[in-house]
Structure formats: structure tokens, C-alpha cells
């Protein structure tokens, strides 16, 4: 009699455990999805200081066609607004690096000054050019607050000439594109 009882109890624990987990998963599914989405968005937008925008830039893509720039490819962009006014533009630019394409998200404020650069994808040499995907990379941070008219020469990353050149060129391209299409990019919002 006793072994059967124990077996039943074990089966009960198994069934109870599985039911509990399935129920919990069902109950928390929405919340978990929201959390991961929020986290992804936050990760993508961390190049833009939180006090610079109050919209959901990723829900506000710019109506620009993917097109080749001088040294890189423009893939698209997003508009960040603060209390209804355009505050910054995020451009997705692809450059060819040493190990393959480098995909950058470049934030430019309404005055044409660079706010931040984030590396979305790269396959550069780890610990040389690969540094560009580290959060808070000092070399990328040096571009901040510069605009197209600044003629300053940027240093290259040691040991990563091609990566450096690709990124610098892509940043120039993005700033030039912004300057040339500034009113168009910023006014898109007003037409909505």
C-alpha cells in the first residue's frame, strides 16, 4: 500500500509542478513580452539622452528610400521629437569595414550636431576594430557635438585603419545627408 501512495504523491508533485509552470507562463506571457520589447527599444535608443525625446522614435520611421551615399549606404531613419517638436534624427547607415559591413545608427540633433553613434552590427577584428560595438566606446564618443562644418581630423583607432576610415566616412556621409535634406527630414513630422 505504502509504495503506491508514494508513487501517487510523486506523480501529484510532477503534475502540480507542470500545471503551476504552465499557468504561470500563461499569466505572465504578456508582461514578459512587454518587458523584452521595452528593453530592446531602450538598448537601441541608448545613444540618445532620455531627456532629448519623448516619443517612440522607432514607431516614427522617416520616409527616406534606401540609397547609396558617397562612401556608405543609407538604410533608413527615425525621427525623435520632444513635446511635438523634432529634436533629433536617427539615421541607419551601412559602411564596409575590414571584416564586412558595419551597420551604424547615427543620431543627429536638429542643428546638425552629432549626438551619438551606436554600432548595430559589425564583424571587425575583435579587440582592434571590434571595439566600436562596446557601449561607451571612447573613440566613437569623440565624434559627439561635432557637425559637418567642423574640419577637425579625427584620430584613427590604433591597428584598425580600415574600420576607422569606414566609420569616419559613414559619419561624414550621414552629416552631409542631414545637412542637404535638413528641412525635409525635420518637416516630415509637421505634414503628418
Amino acid at each position: 500500500m505504502k509504495p503506491t501512495k508514494g508513487l501517487l504523491l510523486t506523480l501529484f508533485i510532477a503534475a502540480g509542478g507542470i500545471t503551476l509552470i504552465l499557468a504561470l507562463q500563461h499569466l505572465t506571457a504578456d508582461s514578459a513580452a512587454q518587458q523584452s520589447q521595452a528593453l530592446e527599444r531602450q538598448a537601441l535608443l541608448d545613444l540618445l539622452p532620455a531627456d532629448r525625446y519623448d516619443n517612440q522614435p522607432l514607431d516614427q520611421p522617416l520616409a527616406i528610400d534606401p540609397q547609396p551615399l558617397t562612401n556608405s549606404q543609407l538604410h533608413g531613419g527615425y525621427l525623435a521629437t520632444l513635446s511635438g517638436q523634432p529634436s533629433a534624427v536617427l539615421l541607419r547607415v551601412q559602411a564596409s569595414g575590414y571584416g564586412g559591413p558595419i551597420e551604424l545608427l547615427i543620431a543627429i540633433d536638429r542643428n546638425g550636431k552629432l549626438v551619438g553613434i551606436k554600432t548595430l552590427e559589425q564583424s571587425e577584428t575583435p579587440s582592434l576594430g571590434g571595439h566600436i560595438s562596446e557601449p561607451g566606446n571612447a573613440w566613437l564618443a569623440a565624434f559627439q557635438r561635432h557637425s559637418r562644418s567642423d574640419t577637425q581630423d579625427f584620430d584613427q583607432m590604433a591597428g584598425a585603419t580600415l574600420t576607422s576610415r569606414a566609420v569616419i566616412n559613414a559619419v561624414h556621409d550621414a552629416l552631409r545627408y542631414f545637412d542637404e535634406h535638413r528641412s525635409l527630414l525635420l518637416e516630415q513630422h509637421a505634414h503628418d
Partner: protein, 164 residues
């Protein structure tokens, strides 16, 4: 009969290195493992007398897996960053529960050993968390060396105080 519950034979070394690179991570892992091990111990305390030894193992496996999965689901829903930081080490808590159960950690009369092991675990986690976050020792190998030094210091200290 008192058994020695070392850090090594209770599966605590891996998380000790893995989650101690920042203090919040170390603290949250310590809190979660105390919570899970306590719940596990309480539940097994009620079950042990009613099950044969072989069924005890199966029941403890299920129980540990259920507890850890529940905690993982809750973290995913309400504290995703923490879940991502702790990663694989969270699942190790379930293995830890089963190992502790097998070596008699939850037997009556082991209160002192339980407190000692978790005290040591907590103290090491917090110390490592503090030291690694403040210095350049955030990398895994540095964690190992630091842990080795801490344990060596601890051993030397106990040796010194018993020989007196």
C-alpha cells in the same frame, strides 16, 4: 554526525565566480538562492517521510525544477534585466538544491551547517562583488584568483586560530 558542506561539493563555486562581477548581481543571486533553497527545504521536509529513497530523488528533482522555473518566469515578466544578468546560473540553483538534498543538508540537526554554508556563500559573494566591481578584476580569471586568495586567507586564519 556533522558533515562538511564545502563550497565545491555543493555546486556553489560556479555561480560564485559567475555572478559576482557586480554587487547588485551578487546580492540578487544570493537572495534568490536563499529563497529557493529555503522553499525547497520546507517542501522536502513535508515530503521526505512519505517517500522511499528512490522516489525522494525524483520528487526533489521535480520540486527544484518547478521552483526555479517559477522564479525564472516571474523574473522574465517583472525583472527582465535581472533575469538576463543571472542567466544560466539561475538554473544551477535547482541542481544545487538536489545536491544539497542528497548530501543531507536538510536533515534535522544541521542548522549550524546550513547557516555556516550560506553565511560563507553570502559573505564570499558580497566580498567578491565589492572587490570586483571596484577594481579591474571584473574578468572571470581575476575572479578565480581573487576567490583563491580569499579562501587561502580564510584557511590560514582558521589554521592560525586553531593552532593557538
Amino acid at each position: 554526525m556533522t558533515r562538511a558542506f564545502g563550497l565545491a561539493n555543493t555546486m556553489m563555486l560556479a555561480p560564485l565566480i559567475g555572478v559576482s562581477d557586480t554587487l547588485p548581481k551578487a546580492l540578487s543571486f544570493f537572495g534568490l538562492s536563499v529563497l529557493i533553497v529555503t522553499l525547497f527545504g520546507l517542501a522536502m521536509g513535508g515530503l521526505r517521510a512519505r517517500l522511499s529513497t528512490s522516489l525522494q530523488l525524483i520528487a526533489s528533482l521535480m520540486l527544484a525544477a518547478t521552483l526555479v522555473s517559477a522564479v525564472q518566469l516571474l523574473l522574465q515578466a517583472f525583472a527582465l534585466p535581472m533575469y538576463q544578468h543571472l542567466g544560466i546560473y539561475l538554473t544551477l540553483i535547482s541542481v544545487q538544491c538536489v545536491v544539497l538534498e542528497q548530501c543531507g543538508f536538510f536533515d534535522a540537526g544541521q542548522h549550524k551547517a546550513r547557516l555556516q554554508l550560506f553565511g560563507l556563500f553570502g559573505a564570499l559573494l558580497i566580498t567578491l562583488g565589492l572587490l570586483r566591481a571596484s577594481g579591474a578584476t571584473i574578468l572571470i580569471p581575476a575572479g578565480f584568483i581573487l576567490l583563491g586568495l580569499l579562501l587561502a586567507g580564510f584557511q590560514a586564519w582558521t589554521h592560525f586560530s586553531t593552532s593557538r
